[in-house]
Amino acid sequence: MSPAHLLTAALSVSAVRGGTLSLPHIDYLTILPELIFLGGALVMLLHSALIRRTMDAATSTSWALSAATAALVASLVQWYEVSAHGPKVAVAGAVAFDGFSVFVTILVSSATLVAILISHSWLEREGVRGPEMQALMLVSAMGAMLMGAANDLIMVFLGLEILSIALYVLAAFDHRRPASGEAALKYFILGAFSSAVFVYGIALVYGATGTTNLPQIADFLSRNLLLHNGLLLGGLALLLAGFCFKIAAVPFHMWTPDVYQGAPTPVTGFMSAIAKVGGFAALLRVFVSSFGLLRADWQPAIWVIAALTLLLGASVALVQRDVKRMLAYSSINHAGFVLLGLQAATSRGVSDSLYYLFAYAFMALGSFAVVSIVGAKGDGNHRLDAYRSLGRRHPWLAAAFTVFLLGQAGIPFTTGFLAKLAVVEAAVEAHSVWLAGIAMVSAVVAAFFYLGLVRLMWAAPAADAPVAGAPAGAMASVGAATASMQPAERVSAGALASPVGTAAGQVSGSAAGSPAGAGSTSGEEAGSTSEETEEPALSTPLGVGIAIALCAGVTVVFGVIPAPLLDFAHQATLLIR
């Protein structure tokens, strides 16, 4: 069926019902970044459909990066528009255009930019061709933006589904590893389940209030005192359950470690940043602006969920042996912190939650970027042991990871510290002192495994490390001897294990220019491989190097000079409070 037929059918439906076709007035600026992302994805898919040759990573990355950059610029324009003319609703009340939504848009588009850089290096390393991964990322990110801007429960659901369905496919993207498919299937089934619960929640709320529009719900609640609000509260509970699945709050979190571990590492990074941002954006808007009057009913539930999320995330992360699972539980712990701001249910709390999300998104992306590098070809080297004495082999890489881990642990002079401080302060101001205490205890426990990993990276290699076999050792020492003549990657163990592709050649050329890669491609690497031959030598390609540098820059710069970002977050207010 062609689009023309579809359009005719739609027109005939509306003509039958309303007699005339009435399109709402659309202020395109308010949805410009979403349109850019969608347009970018469509262009990439069209491009690859129209030309016979499979699109290579460089082309698709260029497209995706252009789209992300354009969206970022558009969202900055939006910011000035909101600052100058104030917030408003658009597209027949379906979309809110306020500081909050624009903040989320800026965050999502910049995080997507970073994620695309990471995915580029993964695509090149794994030799995967085609635009699908990045196109799906754009679509998924668009869903997250819609969730941030949604002013209607139907719109929230739409955003949620656009975000999720693309993510299901992305999780399954590494078809060579069965774990990837398993992760996607689990995520899909549980996601579909929770989406159904969410829709049922919308239905109940509609039944109780007669509308799905968020301001109208708030309006209804402020004008009517419900004598029997069981229907409404039931709907609220189901909405909360649906959101909690998306943000991985306990006990709706169980998919997280499996999916984070199974999905390709760039996708995990993308998911940990974008899906959380989208989920939290909608959760904050729906609960604080529409159901703010019912806060006495939902605050205790959030209290318990936040406490469980904080404690479980931190304590189970402690016993993980796989870095991706560890970071998955760490992200659960972070979700608990963001919930602190929601639990406070104040304007200040919302801003602090947004700030936390901003800080967290870049630390998580940076962490998974490092993990993606250390994962090496095949994306399977994720044991914690792989990080032992990383600082000796790749000082820059280890330094960047140290920044992200310290930031997530909440060490001062990183955004992570200020973010934790902000949400804990918001909780204390809202008289949730015990919850703040639990948060701090969980931060202490979490610091244990973050710092443990840092120690592992900078500690001396274990004395009882298995001695490498003689042939490999001999080859490596030959490599060390000839390191001055050849690029380091060509003699490294990883390159010996698999044929040297053109991608690796390109990579070695470009790595020298990247700040994070500068230290790791020198001759000393070849020397160290002779000591630890069981560790593959790692390369830090330009794309992921820039991504890591960007994330580390955000984490440190805004940690040292916090004022701009804090002001930014505090101006990102909701249209209706």
């Binding site: 549980l190 389940f193 359950a241 169980m254 189970v316 402690l318 016993v319 244990f448």
Partner: protein
Amino acid sequence: MIHAAYLMVLLPLAGFAVLVVLGRRLGDPWAGWLATLAVAGSFVATCVTYAGLLSRPSGASREVTQNFFTWISAGPLHVHAGILVDPLSMTMALFVSGVSTLIHLYSIGYMKRDRDFPKFFLYLNLFVASMMLLVLGSSLLVTFVGWEGVGLCSYFLIAYWFERPSAASAGKKAFIYNRIGDAGFLLAMFLLFEKTGTLSYRGIFAHASDLSTGVATAACLLLFLAAAGKSAQIPLFPWLPDAMEGPTPVSALIHAATMVTAGVYLLCRMSPVLATAHDAQLVIASVGAATAFVGATIACAQDDIKKVVAFSTVSQLGYMFLAVGTGAYEAAIFLMVAHAFYKGLLFLGSGSVIHGLHDEQDLKRMGGLARYLPLTAVTFASGWFALAGVPPLSGFWAKGDVLDNAFARYPTLWVIGIITAALTAYYSSRLFILAFTGEARWRHSEATGGPAPASTSPAAAAQAAQAASVAAHLGPHEEPHEAPVTMAVPLVVLAVAAFAAGMLSLPWHTGITRPLAWLDPVFGSSLYAAHQSTATKWVLGVVDSLVAFGGIGAAWLLWRRTWRRPALEPDFLRRVWYVNELYDLLIGRPGARLASFASGVIDRRAIDGVVEGVGTATRGAGSALRRLQTGFLRQYALGIVLGIVLLLAFMLTRVWP
């Protein structure tokens, strides 16, 4: 002319900055000349400012505050980085910069061919800058910056030859003793800020009369604690003798002439507050007199030439505090200036001897040096007579001034003071006789010092280490040589000053006004001795002279013929009244036991136990919870269902409470 007052602080600081950058390139001796020039510039700036101040009419117009910028502005606390130019601070600045210039000059010769020649002058310049800031600061906090700065430089310079364990530990000792005093300074500042709302001297003095006696007493005693640390008074004096591990110019500049008098200056500066606290005055006077006596007795039995001079400094500082305690601030300043001259001279003279004998410090291995070091001997004699209190040298007038005031207010303390004066004359004469007259014992190679007593205390260990280093050159010395001209000039200048400084303040009122009388506006006429009759003054003066000559005579008779008199050097005095051992017993060992308790029981068992317990518990919880993560989809879905059911159940309780 007062507008250039900031140069007094800034020039030495600039010298320091230049030496930090270029010191190594300038090297020996140009780094030294640059440093000397910077300090001399500071001295010139001080003279100019002084002249400017003198040209103004006496009174309030001679008190100028220059604020450069607002340093701290927090709530009610406003501190300006500024200097206060008034007769008191200018007196101090004049002699600090003057003596510093001479000692810089001397150091060029003394430190020749030292490995870290530029570094030494870098520290010296920083010290002078800090000392000028201390003296000129317009508020307690600015003074405190200088106070800490001189303490830091003192630490650097005592431990200058830090390869020697004894020097390193002496530096630490000085620093730690000073920290105790600094705590008192800080507490005094807190208290005064709490009660007056300001830290500037002018502001505090404006409120001085509103302070209750208790507050004033507490503040003064806390400040006295600070002063006792810096100026080596009982109970914080043992660091000063150990500080002689530093190069001799350092001992002369920091540990005789300038830094150690900072405590006296601080109390004089705070005299308006001190005047209202009579109990504190009595405490200060008593501690001062006791320190004077104890220091003098110890100086009688020391063999190390620098140790004798060091304990003499402790004793003389005690006199100054006696004067402060009796309210005779002018007398204290008078003695401080005179002391800076003659004690600086004695140290430089000792340095000249040590230099001439190739680092020999043991008096028992000297003797007959007057023939070989005539200039040193003559100048040293000037310092000796001044210290002993022989009329008409400066020491006689200055000490007489202090004792007259003590006699008028605390007669008991005067008795202690006069006994101490006799001891002073005795030990200074013994020092001169052993070093410059008699048999030339440095020609022999026998061991002369008593056997090093075995002890476990760190101080004794340091002494033992020093004894070992002395023993290293127990062989016969070659003929001593006179010092180079850069060392000779300061000796001569200081000798003249030590001789004539008494003219600053002669006790009788003639047509000529006393130069020190210009301090009167700062202190008021609080001298008790001013009310004494001329006859009393004459009698007291004669008593002072008789005591001085008696001490000198006794020493002449006892030490002229022999250098071995163990009966006069009891172990009790040689070992500094066992103070180091006492502190070790009372504080050192219990402290070490407390520390080992804290690290062993409290830290390792209790705190680490709790931490590790929490860690183990969390890990256990994590391992248990991890089992829930089976990997089975059905179980995950069950988790979600459970969550939904619980949420719905909770909402149900909200509907039907």
